[in-house]
């Protein structure tokens, strides 16, 4: 361990410096008492023994403190009890401060981390696994807490106990102390050697655990295939093999681990034997008093515990620093600017794409997009899956960035508009609805304080209102994983209400009504036309019925705009759009058969 093992956590410990000071004071009090107790035993026993020996040998009786040897014993017992109570209080305060400190620091780090993470750019979330981000907030923070919890209480008090005991033992009989401690270096050396092998064994176990887990995961994901091919027994046999291997590897680890604790007990026992043997000889020869012998033993017992704990604390320290580094790495990432110096400007909603290209994994998704959407107009985008429709829309609220070319809003490149301003102006309803496990009201309002459009009004516009009647607690109904499951259409209408309530200058519906039936969709669109009269609307859809009334329609294919115009001109063009129109007409007919 480095000179100051707490350094990595310095920033988080600083606010609690006074707690540490307090904790330390009480730690010293408790520790001192702990060190006095064996001395009390020594005095009591020596006094009693010399009294007894003197009366047996007919020598003058040694003086007593309380008048009789029995009341002396009682006094020693009482003093011990008194000291015990003081120690209890001191220990309580010490623990309360130090354990509390570890919990507060845990809280502070975790809060910092989660508050920071939500402000990171989206690219961060695409590059990192959810599990990894979760692990930092849970396992890593817990590792730090565990270390801090033990650092002061066990490590510091352990080291102090060790040295104080050593000093006091030496003051009783230094040569005996050194002899009694000779197994200690053996313990340290073996602990190091064994812990290395144990770590390796542990790693092998973890590896196999990973293999076994992914086997289970795969088996469950492929349950259908397993059933279809009647592979049940084979799958079980395969799992059994992995399972057995896991047990085998554990077996190796257990072989090593099972030696460790009995061995420390053994070495500890050796110290005890040395003290009994050599110490006993000295008492026998009269070089040591019986009380000193008892005290010596008591110190020895106090010493052995910290020795056994040391390895664990070192381990915890290594884990905690690694964890702190992992968390710090995230905290060091630059967040997006979310605060504005002034009130956000109101954008008019004129959008322009100039020679925009975008590629993903070396594959061109958008090529040479040139498009102007006048403020207040409605643009519809149609095209096959993967033709680049969503990508085009996602460029507007800066969810992604164009490789080349410019996306402009009100004539200003989007990259120059602060994120809060642009996202405040854009209401985006994505393809896949995401609802939080929260009330519908919260899901719609999402923290908006703007009361221009109420949640109720927003649900009316999105035609969610009729559905609310059948929900147990209307707008206060909790939805999502831990609540009521909504239908696809209800989800989409909730997401729509979420966008509408913000009265955006630009409303983007990215295939946002695919699960809403045609009739409701038409009603919603009619309603939106009223609300969005002055605003820009971008509609991405598959249904011709959705887009036919738009001011302008573009047809995309393989990342390019291949047709554009309004419904009539496009139908007349006899291209992709008119083919779509024809097929949908057929499908409708078919559906009615």
């Amino acid at each position: 361990m480095p000179i100051n093992p707490l350094r990595p956590f310095d920033r988080y410990l600083r606010p609690y410096r006074r707690w540490i000071t307090f904790g330390l004071i009480f730690l010293f009090i408790a520790l001192s008492i702990q060190m006095i107790i064996p001395l009390m035993l020594k005095w009591a026993i020596d006094a009693g023994k010399s009294y007894l020996d003197a009366s047996r040998d007919g020598l003058p009786l040694p003086p007593t403190i309380m008048g009789s040897p029995l009341s002396d014993l009682a006094m020693y017992g009482m003093v011990m009890a008194g000291l015990g109570i003081i120690q209890w209080v001191a220990n309580f305060v010490m623990r309360w401060y130090f354990s509390g400190l570890s919990r507060y620091v845990e809280h502070d780090i975790r809060t910092d981390y989660v508050k920071h993470i939500v402000t990171l750019p989206l690219s961060f979330f695409q590059q990192n696994k959810v599990g990894d981000m979760m692990a930092r907030a849970t396992n890593d923070v817990e590792a730090i807490q565990r270390f801090l919890h033990h650092a002061f209480r066990m490590c510091l008090s352990g080291i102090l106990t060790f040295f104080l005991s050593l000093v006091l033992m030496c003051s009783i009989d230094w040569s005996l102390a050194l002899l009694a401690l000779f197994p200690m270096p053996v313990m340290v050396v073996t602990a190091r050697a064994v812990s290395g092998r144990m770590r390796q064994g542990y790693r092998r176990v973890q590896e196999q655990f990973g293999v076994m887990s992914s086997n289970i995961q795969e088996n469950l994901s492929g349950a259908r295939v397993v059933k279809a091919f009647a592979r049940r027994l084979a799958e079980i046999a395969k799992f059994q093999g992995l399972n057995d291997e896991y047990v085998d590897r554990n077996h190796h680890l257990i072989n090593i681990r099972s030696i460790f604790y009995p061995f420390t007990f053994f070495l500890n026992g050796v110290s005890m034997v040395v003290v009994l043997w050599l110490g006993g000889w000295r008492v026998l020869e009269g070089a040591l008093t019986l009380g000193a012998f008892v005290a010596f033993n008591a110190y020895l017992i106090r010493m052995s515990r910290p020795m056994m704990m040391l390895g664990r604390v070192v381990d915890e320290f290594q884990r905690a620093t690694a964890s702190m580094m992992r968390i710090q790495a995230i905290l060091d990432l630059r967040p997006q600017t979310l605060e504005l110096d002034e009130d956000p400007r109101r954008l008019n909603g004129e959008i322009e794409f100039r020679d925009v290209t975008f590629s993903y994994n070396g594959h061109a998704v958008l090529e040479d997009i040139n498009l102007r959407i006048p403020a207040g107009s409605t643009l519809a985008i149609v095209g096959r899956v993967g033709s680049g429709k969503s990508t085009l829309a996602r460029l507007i609220p800066r969810l992604i960035h164009a490789d080349s070319g410019d996306v402009l809003i009100d004539g200003q490149p989007v990259n120059g508009i602060p994120i809060p301003e642009i996202r405040g102006a854009v209401g985006y309803v994505p393809q896949e609805t995401f609802l939080f496990s929260d009330t519908l009201r919260e899901n719609v309002a999402m923290g908006t304080t703007d009361d221009k459009v109420t949640v109720e009004r927003a649900t009316e516009i999105s035609h969610l209102a009729p559905d609310l009647e059948v929900l147990p607690e209307r707008l206060e109904t909790v939805v999502g994983e831990r609540g009521v499951t909504l239908s696809g259409g209800q989800k989409q209408r909730t997401a729509l209400a979420r966008a509408v309530i913000r009265q955006p200058s630009i409303l983007i519906l990215d295939d946002a009504m695919s699960s809403v039936d045609t009739r409701t969709e038409e009603a919603i669109l009619a309603e939106l036309r009223g609300v969005m009269a002055e605003r820009t609307t971008i509609l991405i859809a598959h249904r011709i019925s959705t887009v036919k009334d738009a001011d302008h329609i573009i047809v995309m294919d393989e990342g390019r705009i291949v047709e554009e115009g309004n419904h009539e001109t496009l139908v007349a063009l006899d291209g992709i759009y008119s083919e779509m129109f024809r097929r949908q007409h057929l499908a409708e007919e078919l559906d009615e058969l």
Binding site: I37, G84, R95, H107, V114, R232, V283, T439, G447
Partner: protein, 606 residues
């Protein structure tokens, strides 16, 4: 100066309207039935368990012999000044240390291994049971939850077997052993020691109750925090799009605050309890010093007894203290075992029949089949409404229809993946419920639309690890469905590693692979759900050839998306809204100018 406090973050706050998860809530107290069932897993290892118990008994007795030997040393040698035999006593002590070491090793080893073996059996039971669960179970249970059971919950059980139950026994025996030594030395002092027992027990039970409650609350809050975090990360785009970063952060802070509060509560209990146990130790030591010392002064006992007593007292409280911890471990494990047993008690697929014919002709018949996926007592949403058809041995049937017409459902029913509500499905004239389900699935090969690849090489993905599928069969199958054409181009051929995620195979290649997989199993009936996705022209030609070959050689039902497939079929079935509306051959159906005619225009016209 403000110290750590129980109320955090500005005191009270309300959680009105927030979802409280009851998951992770642990029932209080011990469920004996549950415990009994858990211990049932130890049954195969009863001899080992007995050995462990014996070893624990020996270990706790020898471990506590040290102070008693000290007593003998003090009384027989040190105080009277007799050096004769002292060396021998020391030798005995050293001997005991060796015994202790060996026994300790054996006990640790056996305990851990029993835990490992029992866990292996639990895992195998779970895995085996999962294989028998109906597909509906997987449709509605997130894999993440099943994985958590297979990992975290089994781990918790392991802790219980190795650290929980055995350690409690160990701790109890240690207490008993110490008391026995003390009583042996002096009965009165033994009684005095026993005074400490109720005090320590009451304190321990108090802590156990209080802190477990606080711990439980903390875990629930933490679970909620983790769920919220996971949700926020998954939905970060929405969070950022709608500028809800601050709202999310506030939510976290709320949860974090209440977590801290709950944790501080258990910290408070622990801060009181552990020092209290130390206090009890010191008080008992003071008491011993006085009462033992008085006895020595009165000549009732010798010095050695007092010395030994003073060594026993600190050892006495440690096991009692540890028991408190073990109970937490055991209770956590019981909660886990509850979830595991719930899984193990989940109904498996209905018992399979026994019909296992020598040979299969390959005749398939649906008789007035009604089917709905929602089979939970609610109003059934019929996906199939009275579907009847028959495929003669060796014939091929193409099923067409618009999306959602119920075509794919037919595939799910032929192999009995889902139980039907009305009517019957017959293979060779025998209701599939009477068939041995594994035999049925071996005879009926299914090619699903989405091809699932297992981690492994191409060959393993074709043979699916079945030993009866020899290498030649794999090669032959791959050749028959044209899969060899792309496999041969792979750098490592049949040894090329693939897996479900990040697979380098194209959609078309995956389809060919699934054809080969089905063919390698050599089924008598083939049920094929043609994938709709676009593939490159070359692969498309291979697929068309392969499908044609597959269809002509055996009874086959194909959910068809390719015109070529439909044309090759002996009969076409037109499904519409869960019913069979038209059937016949391509030309006749076209002429009828009904649904098929429109479908044809919509889907199959280039």
């Amino acid at each position: 100066m403000k110290g750590p406090s129980l109320s955090v973050g500005g005191g009270k706050r309300t959680l009105a309207g927030r979802a409280y998860s009851t998951e992770g809530m642990v029932k209080r107290g011990f469920d004996l039935r549950l415990m009994g069932r858990l211990l049932g897993y130890l049954r195969p290892y009863v001899p080992w368990v007995f050995l462990t118990l014996v070893l624990i008994l020996v270990a706790s007795t020898t471990r506590q012999a040290g102070p008693y030997i000290t007593k003998i040393a003090v009384d027989d040698h040190i105080v009277p000044g007799v050096s004769d035999g002292f060396g021998f006593l020391i030798a005995v002590y050293i001997g005991l240390l060796f015994v202790q070491f060996v026994v300790g090793y054996g006990q640790g080893w056996a305990t851990n291994m029993i835990g490992q073996w029992a866990m292996r059996d639990v895992r195998l039971d779970m895995f085996g049971h999962l294989q028998k669960l109906p597909l509906q179970y997987f449709d509605r249970t997130p894999i993440g939850r099943l994985m958590a059971m297979n990992t975290n919950d089994v781990d918790a059980l392991n802790e219980m077997f190795t650290d929980g139950v055995v350690s409690v026994i160990n701790d109890l025996l240690t207490v008993v052993a110490i008391l026995a030594y003390i009583f042996y030395m002096d009965v009165e002092l033994g009684v005095v020691t026993c005074v400490a027992l109720p005090v320590a027990s009451v304190a321990t039970v108090w802590l156990q109750t209080k802190s477990f409650e606080a711990y439980r609350v903390a875990r629930v809050i933490f679970g909620r925090f983790a769920a919220t975090l996971q949700e926020t990360i998954s939905g970060i785009e929405v969070v950022q799009l709608f500028g809800a970063e601050k709202r999310s952060a506030d939510r976290f802070e709320e949860d974090n605050d209440s977590y801290l509060q709950a944790r501080m509560k258990s910290t408070l209990y622990h801060s009181m309890y552990f020092p209290f146990m130390e206090l009890s130790g010191i008080l008992l030591m003071g008491l011993m010093l006085y009462s033992g010392g008085s006895k020595v002064m009165n000549g009732e006992i010798e010095w050695g007894v007092l010395v030994a007593l003073l060594q026993y007292v600190p050892r006495f409280f440690m096991p009692i203290r540890d028991i408190a911890d073990r109970f937490n471990t055991i209770q956590t494990a019981l909660a886990s075992s509850e979830r595991i047993f719930e899984l193990l008690d989940t109904d498996t697929e209905p018992p399979s029949g026994t019909h296992q014919p020598e040979a299969v002709r390959g005749e398939i018949e649906f008789r007035d089949v009604w089917f709905a996926y929602n089979d939970d007592g609610g109003e059934p949403e019929w996906v199939l409404r009275g579907v009847s058809f028959k495929v003669d041995p060796g014939d091929s049937l193409a099923i067409v229809g618009a999306t959602g017409a119920g075509k794919s459902t037919i595939i799910n029913l032929v192999c009995g993946f889902y139980p039907i509500q009305k009517g019957s499905v017959l293979v060779d004239g025998v209701d599939i419920r009477e068939w041995d389900s594994e035999e049925l699935r071996r005879r009926v090969g299914v090619v699903q639309q989405d091809v699932f690849l297992f981690a492994g090489d191409i060959e393993e993905n074709i043979s699916l690890g079945a030993p009866e599928v020899a290498r030649e069969r794999v090669l032959q199958a791959a050749h028959d469905v044209n899969a060899d054409r792309f496999i041969d181009r792979l750098p490592k051929g049949y040894e090329q590693e693939v897996n479900e995620r990040g697979s380098s195979l194209s959609v078309g290649q995956r389809q060919l692979l699934s054809f080969a997989r089905a063919l390698a199993a050599d089924p008598d009936v083939l049920v094929l759900d043609e994938a709709t996705s676009n593939v490159d022209t070359e692969t498309e030609v291979w697929i068309q050839e392969a499908v044609e070959k597959l269809m002509t050689e055996r009874t086959s039902i194909v959910i068809a998306h390719r015109l070529s497939t439909i044309r090759n079929a002996d009969k076409i079935l037109v499904m519409h809204h869960g019913e069979i509306r038209e059937e016949g051959r391509h030309e006749d159906l076209l002429e009828a100018r009904g649904i098929y005619h429109r479908l044809h225009q919509l889907q199959y016209q280039e």
